[in-house]
């Protein structure tokens, strides 16, 4: 029954439900580590981790960095600006140079879809995808799953609707994979200009009005509207977007049940989500942030020790032998 992750975590698409559950179950005890007087355990002592960010990120990078430090790993942050990346070095050259300095893991965020897989196939270090283009953002989806499980006690059978820009969202894509694998019903809702063609083939239900989605859902995961979408003409104006798609208390009141409200951040208050909803009693947005550290600790821990054949051998020793 040994379940283990492989070398890299680049997406949820190719993980089994058991592998996803393993990560969520492993995250559980890591929550408590962040509540200790000394918020640190020595599990990854001596490991060197590079956070390689080719795209701006505050929340995800800080969350990874806390996770790494709370596991006692040594970390280095490399941002695209101010590094040799801006001098035209290729992704693989950058990573190979880092690897020549004997690192163990790379956490990468990159504007191109598939960058994490590409890198993982070319270097020996473990690679964790912190968001690649429109492809996946697996740790965000994992922390969303953990937060839903905490709040509802289960994931299977829940109606979870993703609201907003599905087309450009790696968070949406990873969420759809993770939620469907764990047996949730997934809905998507947003302007048709921001809805990818063929989305139904992923097994999701499409809602063309936010009111219908609210009537159906147990959980709304409200995605961030990237403001540059407006400049490119996908939506007419922010005010219009709020009027048609905004998640407001007035709309939620019509729901037959309380709806759990999630948002991956950073929020545009008054655009995709009303402040009264974001700060309301059913919002778990800050729980998502807390869970993000625990989930990332779990992923780092599981990948760092990824030698399943040795784990099996050790287990044959049996109980009571330390």
């Amino acid at each position: 029954m040994t379940t283990s992750l492989g070398k890299d975590l680049t997406g949820l698409e190719h993980l089994t439900p058991d592998e996803i559950r393993l990560i969520l179950d492993t995250a559980e005890p890591f929550k408590e580590v962040s509540e200790r007087p000394i918020k640190k355990v020595p599990a990854l002592r001596g490991k060197t981790i590079v956070n390689l960010f080719f795209e701006a990120s505050t929340r995800t990078r800080i969350s990874f960095e806390f996770a790494e430090k709370r596991l006692s790993a040594d970390t280095v942050n490399v941002a695209a600006t101010g590094s040799s990346v801006s001098k035209g070095e290729t992704l693989v050259d950058t990573a190979k140079n880092l690897e020549a300095m004997r690192i163990d893991m790379v956490v990468i965020r990159h504007p191109s879809s598939g960058a994490a897989d590409f890198l993982g196939q070319r270097i020996r270090s473990n690679v964790i995808n912190a968001g690649d283009g429109k492809h996946e953002h697996p740790t965000q989806a994992l922390l969303d799953l953990l937060t839903i499980r905490d709040k509802h006690g289960k994931i299977e059978g829940l109606n979870v609707c993703l609201v907003g820009d599905i087309q450009h969202s790696r968070v949406a894509r990873s969420n759809i994979w993770g939620l469907t694998k764990l047996g949730a019903h997934v809905g998507v809702c947003g302007p048709h200009t921001l809805m990818p063609r063929g989305i139904e083939e992923l097994g999701v239900t499409m809602f063309s009005r936010i009111e219908e989605a609210i009537e159906w859902a147990d959980v709304l995961n409200v995605l961030r509207l990237q403001l540059e979408r407006m400049e490119k003409g996908f939506i007419p104006s922010l005010r219009e977007y709020y009027r048609v798609w905004g998640v407001t208390p007035e709309r939620l009141e019509r729901s037959p049940r309380p709806i759990t409200i999630m948002h991956p951040g950073p929020m545009n208050r008054g655009v995709e989500i009303d402040s009264r909803v974001a700060d309301g009693p059913h919002s778990v947005i800050l729980d998502q942030v807390t869970n993000g550290v625990a989930v990332r600790m779990a992923v780092l821990y599981l990948l760092a020790g990824g030698r399943p054949e040795l784990a099996d051998a050790a287990k044959r020793g049996g109980g009571g032998t330390e």
Partner: protein, 180 residues
């Protein structure tokens, strides 16, 4: 064909019950009464044993004995070789350990590496005035300079042997077997 194994009972339910009674008395004696005592069981069977010993002390002394649980997985020194443990147990300490007499309770003492990890982990939760070690079975074979203060049953074993501890709460019965 699996190799033939020989299973002998080290402690049956009655013997285990007697051992725990004696251990409880010794813990109270060692701590000069239960005033500053905290029992910390190591996941998983140490937690159940700590619970039993705490209840026995409470019966004798008439005061509550705080007990906690410690999972030492994240303090192990062998993540590289044995890989990650699939499910990490709960770590829960009931009180600030500073100034307390902490008694670590575990089922089997063998190499001493679990206890080493537990000592490191406890140090991150405060500064106990004293830490003692209480184990149901000491099977020898130490790889570190660590000794138990209180032992239920000592037995000499080889590296190929296994000591199986079963407790009522998790396994449906109390028994300790030596498998060789």
């Amino acid at each position: 064909m699996p190799p033939k194994t020989d299973r002998t009972i080290l402690l049956d339910a009655r013997a285990m019950s007697r051992a725990l009674q004696r251990m409880a008395v010794e813990v109270a004696e060692l701590a000069h009464g239960p005033a500053d005592l905290v029992l910390v069981g190591i996941q998983r069977r140490g937690v159940e044993l700590a619970e039993r010993i705490a209840k026995l002390i409470e019966k004798d002394e008439g005061v509550a004995v705080p007990r906690g649980a410690l999972d030492i997985t994240l303090y192990r020194d062998d993540l590289e070789t044995v890989g990650p443990t699939p499910v990490i147990g709960e770590t829960h300490l009931p009180v600030d350990l500073t100034g307390k007499h902490v008694v670590i309770v575990d089922d089997v003492l063998y190499t001493g590496r679990t206890v080493r990890a537990a000592l490191d982990e406890l140090a991150d939760f405060g500064r106990p005035k004293r830490i003692s070690l209480c184990v149901l079975v000491d099977r020898g074979g130490r790889e570190l300079p660590i000794q138990a203060d209180i032992v239920g049953k000592a037995v000499k074993t080889g590296p190929g042997d296994r000591v199986d501890v079963q407790v009522e709460e998790l396994d449906g019965r109390d028994q300790v077997d030596l498998v060789r």
